[in-house]
Amino acid sequence: MSLSTAFFAVIRRDLILAFRRRAEIANPVFFFILVVTLFPLGVGANPKLLQAIAPGIIWVSALLAVMLSLDSLFRSDFDDGSLEQMLLSSHPLTVLVFAKIVAHWLVTGLPLLVVAPLLAIFLGLPEQAWGTLMLTLVLATPVLSLIGSIGVSLTIGLRRGGMILSLLVLPLYVPVLIFASNAVDMASNGLAVDPQINILIAVFFMSVVLAPLPAAAAIKMSIT
Amino acid sequence: MNSFAEFLGMGGYGMYVWPAYGIAFVVLLLNVVLPLIQRKKLLRDLALKQKRKQQ
């Protein structure tokens, strides 16, 4: 089996498994909507205020939704030993791990994109910022999955890794949060957002290249 | 600076300067004292363990 066949086989397998458990796909999306809904209840429904903090709310909620979905990235494969099989296979673990991250993003990150316009309406985000919001989500949610894969592979052997996972992952999410929410904020004020988008593109490629390496190393460490 | 009291006063900023130095001192002291205590305790525990094995 060639490397690319193995890569797509892993993605296909993960997608099939995910569609058998549809609730797991829906959960992060519901969480995302629910958290955003809590904000008007907490800070008051003043449209001006909501519009001003909308980029921050949407992005913080997206961050938390991705983080909570991370556990399903390796959990079942770790428990049933498939991860060990991947480690023993002739293909480099880094590539297989990357395939798993891609599949995970398709299942958990992509649905967030679909509901994002709804949340933009909820919070009264100006229409001129919608395009930027979608663009930042397309560029940055994969980064969240990639960085998160490192944290989750470090804590996978732990009984209660949830709290530690958030401590490991959230500080690393800071740059993504800053650039993405700022881009949306600028766009809603009708300003140019090229620098932010360029930086997000750079961060995207950097994490595609760099993140699977430590994630694979951490999985090796957790298994052996 | 003429007197010791003036030195402690720090030109009116004494209540900010000295706590800063005090907190730094305490935190740095803890980082030295705790390992020393831990080492003492560990060596005592290991000695006890060895004695128990010999008996």
């Binding site: 959230l170 | 720090m10 030109g11």
Partner: protein, 253 residues
């Protein structure tokens, strides 16, 4: 022919052996303590007494003699932790693992000191205890990075595995720190403007600068002392079943 000089290589191999490291640090520690005390006394005397009062900030600026060196140390120790973690990961060197994890609480302490002293300095300058200033915010995130390392190490029972996990995390962190720092700086200039005064301006009076450098060097020696003390405990507890530890225990009792 190796590119590394032979004596250096010999030193490396010797330091890689735990009993040798243990006795070597015993010999080194008193010297370091003496140097540290001299530097601290000189630095504090220069900083708190000799250095002139700042014409803008009055005497409150004297907090920088701990704030700035502590902030430098907080970054320096993270880098040391990542490098020794990498050495431990690649060459499976036990001592490097121990040095990496023993550094973490000290680095976290310096980060905490930088935050608290920054806040104490900010109160008279800004009028509030906390301002989302770029430096303070970066330090706060750095503190979380340290806490992540410490709690990950504590959560994994097998200390060998824990060390490898910590090394991977520290390496990921060290790649991210410049990005985090840059992003926070960028965010700060957008939201605050340049009105917030910066601490430790590059154009410093020489009488103010010398004590600062003395304190910075003193903190380096302090780190070496505290790290060696912590490393010795870690080493003893990891190697408690080996012959050399048993010998030390017998000698003590």
């Amino acid at each position: 022919m190796s590119i590394v000089p032979a004596p250096l290589l010999r030193f490396y191999h010797r330091m890689a052996s735990p009993p040798h490291f243990y006795s070597f640090t015993d010999k080194l520690l008193p010297w370091f303590v003496v140097i540290f005390v001299l530097l601290v006394v000189a630095g504090l005397y220069g900083g708190l007494y000799l250095a002139p009062t700042d014409y803008q900030q009055g005497d409150s600026y004297r907090i920088i003699y701990i704030h700035v060196p502590a902030a430098w140390m907080s970054l320096f120790i993270y880098v040391v932790m990542a490098i020794s973690g990498a050495i431990g990961l690649i060459w499976r060197m036990k001592i490097a693992d121990v040095v990496a994890i023993s550094s973490a609480p000290i680095g976290a302490s310096f980060t905490l000191i930088a935050l608290v002293t920054g806040s104490l300095w900010g109160k008279p300058m800004w009028g509030t205890w906390w301002v989302w200033d770029a430096r303070l915010t970066s330090e706060l995130i750095l503190l979380f990075l340290y806490l992540g390392v410490i709690s990950l190490y504590g959560a994994i029972e097998d200390k060998r595995t824990a060390s490898r996990a910590v090394s991977i995390l520290a390496l990921v962190g060290v790649v991210n720190i410049p990005i985090i720092h840059y992003s926070v700086e960028w965010w700060n200039t957008l939201h605050q403007g340049p009105t917030v005064a910066k601490m430790g301006k590059p154009s410093m009076h020489i009488d103010m600068l010398i004590p600062l450098l003395l304190m910075a060097t003193a903190f380096k020696f302090y780190y070496a002392i505290a790290m060696m003390l912590a490393a010795k405990v870690e080493l003893l507890s990891r190697e408690q079943n080996s012959q050399w530890v048993k010998k030390i225990v017998e000698e003590k009792s």
